[in-house]
């Protein structure tokens, strides 16, 4: 064995941790410090503007004048304002049509990109492009595409001899609505597609193999395996998609400014027009606040949609 005798090690006496040392290692205390920056951020940039916006909607504030408290007068005004109700209708139409189509195309693209095919990585990157291009830039591009004189679509159709006159894309009520919805879909599809693709990749391939042996057709696999397993992710994606679409501003403002005859005015653009362009801050704030019930409703829907399903991993709930 070892020839060198081991020297007994000198052990320092055991010392109790001081009060300060105990606090320093207290998990809750440390957690508080980690939370502070986020809390401060949320307070200054979320809670304060929201509170201020609600307060302003109860005043007759104009740009440069603080305004006095007038109770619900702004809201009473809006109640009788047909343009406001038109903007509510436009917003709902815009949100429902665009979100539904975004979901359809997004899911289709996700399923397609989940297949094994050549240049898979490149195709996935390509799908993201509309999402990367700044909104205003793509809106300007669409503005040109839908221009009443220089529209490439009108030009192509004329060259093919299908029409004789330019289509007044952004000048006609129905065409204008269709065009902004189209532009919104083009921008929104990548988000839906890529997120659903991420969800698809969490589904174990062996489930599909088992289903193949069980005799499922491709549609049956989608209906009985892919779709149910994807529902939690669909709920998240569609909530975000609805929220983004409902509050959209940039695309409309860059393409139509709400026209023609307010037919593409969304609540967000109307609020901006009244508050900033028109200077009536109180009324603008009231329009913005009128979006809150709709957004809350959308969040509630997803809240119940997101409820942990019985089959999902997590705490026991049987």
């Amino acid at each position: 064995m070892a020839d060198i005798a081991l020297q007994p090690r000198v052990r320092p006496p055991i010392r109790e941790a001081t009060r300060w040392e105990q606090i320093k290692s207290n998990r809750n205390f440390i957690a508080l410090w980690f939370m502070l920056p986020a809390m401060a951020f949320l307070l200054f940039f979320l809670a304060y503007p929201l509170g201020l916006g609600i307060w302003i909607s109860f005043t007759d504030a104009r740009i440069g004048r603080p305004g006095a408290f007038i109770g619900l007068e702004n809201y009473e005004w809006l109640w009788d304002d047909s343009i406001f109700w038109l903007s509510v209708f436009n917003t709902l139409l815009y949100t429902f049509v665009a979100s539904a189509i975004k979901f359809g195309i997004g899911l289709y693209l996700a399923l397609l990109l989940n297949e094994n095919m050549p240049f898979k990585a490149m195709l996935r990157a390509l799908v993201l492009i509309p999402f990367i291009v700044p909104t205003v830039l793509s809106a300007l591009a669409f503005w040109w595409i839908f221009d009443s004189q220089f529209s490439i679509i009108s030009w192509s159709l004329k060259e093919m001899g299908l029409i004789t006159e330019n289509i007044n894309f952004l000048g006609d009520v129905y065409w204008a609505r269709a065009c902004v919805i189209f532009a919104n879909i083009w921008r929104g599809v990548p988000f839906v597609a890529i997120t659903l693709l991420a969800g698809l990749q969490t589904v174990s391939p062996s489930l599909y193999e088992a289903a193949t042996l069980d005799g499922a057709t491709r549609w049956q696999m989608f209906r009985n395996i892919t779709y149910p397993l994807l529902t939690p992710i669909i709920a998240v994606v569609m909530t975000f998609s609805v929220l983004f679409t409902f509050t959209d501003f940039q695309l409309i403002w860059a393409m139509t400014r709400g026209g023609p005859v307010n037919s593409t005015h969304l609540m967000a653009t109307l609020s901006y027009q009244r508050a900033i362009i028109g200077g009536v801050l109180g009324e603008g704030a009231a329009i913005s606040n009128a979006m809150i019930p709709f957004l809350l409703a959308a969040i509630m829907v997803s809240w119940f949609g997101l409820q942990r399903r019985k089959w999902q991993q997590g705490e026991n709930n049987d």
Partner: protein, 354 residues
């Protein structure tokens, strides 16, 4: 129930061939285990049998029908996956009844089929649970139940026990074997665990690097391995191999490393002086005065037996004794291989010589 014929089957992924012409005949109702180290192609072969991988060349027939171009669902097989592949959003009953539902069976037929399988596997109390509420062993049983419900011609198992803990694995092993004895359905079972293969199989197919090394009953493989690979793969602890040459001075014998003399039952003809590998199983050593001297390195008692790691002619060997000896590390013992149970292999090809 059906027999399965695999004839000269090859499989390539891209330009890389992983199966180099495999032929296996599986009789009706047999329990065949494909065993081999990972990467030997056993799972690929099973998946080809299931129809999840296509066949590069050769034929596979189930019953008397060649199934190369038959859709998986038309092959009348059922497979149990390593990770069970249970549908997480379906209850146990729905999981088991899924194939019947797809087939268009009525609710009555489905519930009868599910109930029958659930009774066989003692799953009846669990029918309304979701997979995540089950233990590993229960999930395994549900996966088998899903296979039974379909009443297939052939059962395929792809390493079904490797996700279970050791104790459960032993229990499920018995359960699967019992199930086979009851249903008598032709079964092809893939595993890398030779103990599983030995305990469950009617016939073992040892695979290595895309070829079949040997086929036979468990005891045939244990008693007369065709080559050094099979000899080393089957049996636990693994067979000891000592390099040296045949040296018969009158009686048959073998000169091991550092000139250690080892007995040989009978030397193959014209083999005097031939370099070879001497194989002896740990359980075929005895302690005898005329044995070769070895120095004990480590002693591992397991209760029922004692494993002794010792240096024999400078090489480490392992010996297993059922009787209790007082062994201490550093001690010298005399180990004698049973000459009638010695295996002799060619040094380069690994083929059996005696």
């Amino acid at each position: 129930m059906s027999s399965v014929q695999i004839r000269d089957v090859r499989k390539s992924f891209g330009g890389f061939e992983v199966l180099h012409g495999v032929s296996i005949a599986i009789e009706d109702g047999a329990f065949v285990v494909l065993v081999g180290p990972s990467g030997c192609g056993k799972s690929t072969l099973l998946r080809m049998l299931a129809g999840l991988e296509n066949i590069t060349s050769g034929t596979i027939s189930i019953g008397d029908r060649v199934v190369n171009n038959v859709q998986p669902k038309e092959r009348d097989i059922a497979m149990v996956f390593q990770n069970y592949a249970l549908y997480p959003h379906m209850t146990v009953a729905d999981n088991m009844g899924f194939s019947l539902k797809l087939r268009g069976a009525t609710a009555d037929e489905i519930s009868t089929g599910v109930r029958r399988a659930a009774e066989i596997l003692a799953l009846t109390p669990l029918l309304d649970r979701y997979p995540r509420q089950l233990s590993g062993g229960q999930r395994q049983r549900v996966a088998m139940g899903r296979a039974i419900v379909r009443d297939p011609q052939v059962f395929l198992f792809d390493e079904p026990l490797s996700n279970l803990d050791a104790k459960l694995r032993v229990a499920m092993r018995t359960e699967i074997k019992e199930l086979h004895q009851r249903l008598k359905t032709t079964t092809v079972y893939v595993t890398h665990d030779q103990i599983e293969a030995m305990t469950m199989a009617d016939k073992i197919v040892v695979m290595h690097d895309g070829i079949v090394e040997q086929m036979g009953t468990p005891l045939e493989l244990y008693d007369k391995p065709d080559n050094q690979f099979v000899a080393g793969f089957i049996g636990s602890p693994a067979m000891n191999f000592l390099n040296g040459k045949v040296k018969s001075n009158g009686a048959a014998g073998f000169e091991g490393p550092n000139g250690v003399k080892l007995p040989l039952g009978s030397a193959p003809a014209n083999s005097e002086g031939r370099p070879a590998v001497y194989g002896i199983r740990p359980e075929h050593f005895t302690i005898a005065d005329d044995g070769a001297e070895a120095e004990i390195v480590v002693v591992e008692p397991t209760g029922s037996e004692t494993q002794v790691f010792a240096k024999l002619g400078g090489e480490q060997v392992v010996a297993v004794f059922r009787e209790r000896h007082q062994f201490n590390p550093g001690e010298k013992i005399r180990l004698k291989p049973d000459p009638s149970l010695v295996h002799l292999f060619d040094e380069t090809t690994g083929k059996r010589l005696n």
